[in-house]
Point group: C2
Chain length 193, copies 2
C-alpha cells in the first residue's frame, strides 16, 4: 500500500489521565517530543507499556543513542503523541533522521503547540497528546527505561477509534482500527478499568 | 462483529529470540501460562513492552491480585502465548475467570504442550509461544513489573502476519493485521533490528 489518508486537523478534548490506556495499551508507535533550553526534538518509540491507572504511569524504552535521550533525561519531561496512518511517512522520516542535524518539526511540516504542564511541545497533527513527567528514573542507567506519569491528556473528539500504526520491525507496520467488542461477556467490575 | 475465524492447528518453527519484537512490539493482548508444583494457570496480559534485542528482554505488568502472580513470582518462569482473533472468546473468558476456581485449559478447551526450557506449558492453539525466565525482579514489589528473558521462541510458519487482538479497555479490542511497508524508506542499519 503506497497511498495514505489525508492529514487531519483534530479538535481535542481533555481525557481523564487514567484512561490513556485506551490508546496506549493497543501498542501503537508513538512520537515523543522533548525540549531543553532552546533545543527541541521528536523521536519515534515503539517500546512502551502502561504500568498503572492512578497515578497514570507509562514505562518507555528510550535508547541512549537518540538525540532525545539527554533532552528527556535532563528535563525529566516529554510528550507522547499518537500518530495515525495519515502520518506514516512522517513517522518513518522521524525515525530515520537525527535531531542533532535537523529540526524535525520544520523538516516534516509538523506544528508545535504549547503544552499545559510541561515545556515539551505537543504535535498538533497527532490524534492525541499525553503530557508526561518523569516518575521514576531508577532503571534508566541499567535499561534506558523511563517510568513517566501522564499529567495531562488531550484526545481528538472523533473518530472514536483512530487507525494506528504498530511497528513489527523490518520497515513494516501493522494497522489497527477495526474493532471487536465483547463488552457483554465481561464481568462488570472489569469494564470500569 | 460476532463471528470469528476458525481455530487453527499451526506448524511452528524456532525463531531467533532477538526477533520476538516482530510479534510483541505491535502490542497484542497475550496469554501468559505458568506452573508451580501441580498447579498451572493462564492469564491475559495487555501491559508489556519489549526492552532489549539481546538478551531478548520483555517487561510485563502482572497484577498481584491474579492467581498467576505467585505461580510466576515463585517459579521465576512463564510462557507468553500469542492468540489471534480466532481465540477472542477464549481471551475474554480467561480474563474473566480465576485459576483459583477452575482449570482454564479444560474450561476453554486449550491444549497444554511441553515447553523446552521452562516448566510452564505452551498453548498449542496460539500462533506463537515465547518461553521466558525471570531476568530482573527488582520492580516486582513496587510496580508488579517483571523483566523476563525470552529463552526460546516458537512461531507458526504461516500466515506471515497473524491477525492479533489489541485491547483498548471497556470490552473492546482493536484488530491488527493489514500491513503497510515502508521498507524502502528506512536506513539499512535500522532494518536489521
Amino acid at each position: 500500500m503506497s497511498s495514505r489518508p489525508a492529514r487531519r486537523h483534530y479538535r481535542k478534548l481533555d481525557l481523564p489521565v487514567w484512561q490513556v490506556r485506551r490508546y496506549l495499551e493497543p501498542g501503537p508507535i508513538v512520537l515523543v517530543t522533548s525540549a531543553l533550553g532552546g533545543a527541541r526534538n521528536i523521536m519515534t518509540m515503539g517500546w512502551h507499556t502502561v504500568m498503572e491507572f492512578t497515578p497514570s504511569l507509562v514505562g518507555c524504552m528510550i535508547a541512549s543513542g537518540n538525540h532525545s535521550f539527554e533532552l528527556i533525561r535532563r528535563s525529566r519531561q516529554c510528550v507522547i503523541n499518537l500518530p495515525t496512518t495519515a502520518l506514516v511517512d512522517e513517522v518513518v522520516g522521524i525515525g530515520n533522521t537525527s535531531g542533532a542535524e535537523i529540526d524535525k518539526f520544520a523538516k516534516f511540516a509538523l506544528t508545535a503547540e504549547r503544552a499545559e504542564r510541561v515545556t515539551a511541545p505537543l504535535i498538533r497533527e497527532c490524534y492525541a497528546n499525553f503530557e508526561c513527567k518523569l516518575a521514576d528514573g531508577t532503571l534508566i542507567d541499567k535499561y534506558n527505561f523511563f517510568i513517566f506519569e501522564v499529567v495531562k491528556a488531550h484526545v481528538a473528539s472523533s473518530p472514536r477509534y483512530p487507525e494506528t500504526l504498530h511497528y513489527t520491525g523490518d520497515g513494516a507496520f501493522m494497522v489497527a482500527g477495526k474493532i471487536i467488542s465483547r463488552r457483554a461477556q465481561f464481568r462488570p467490575e472489569l469494564l470500569s478499568q
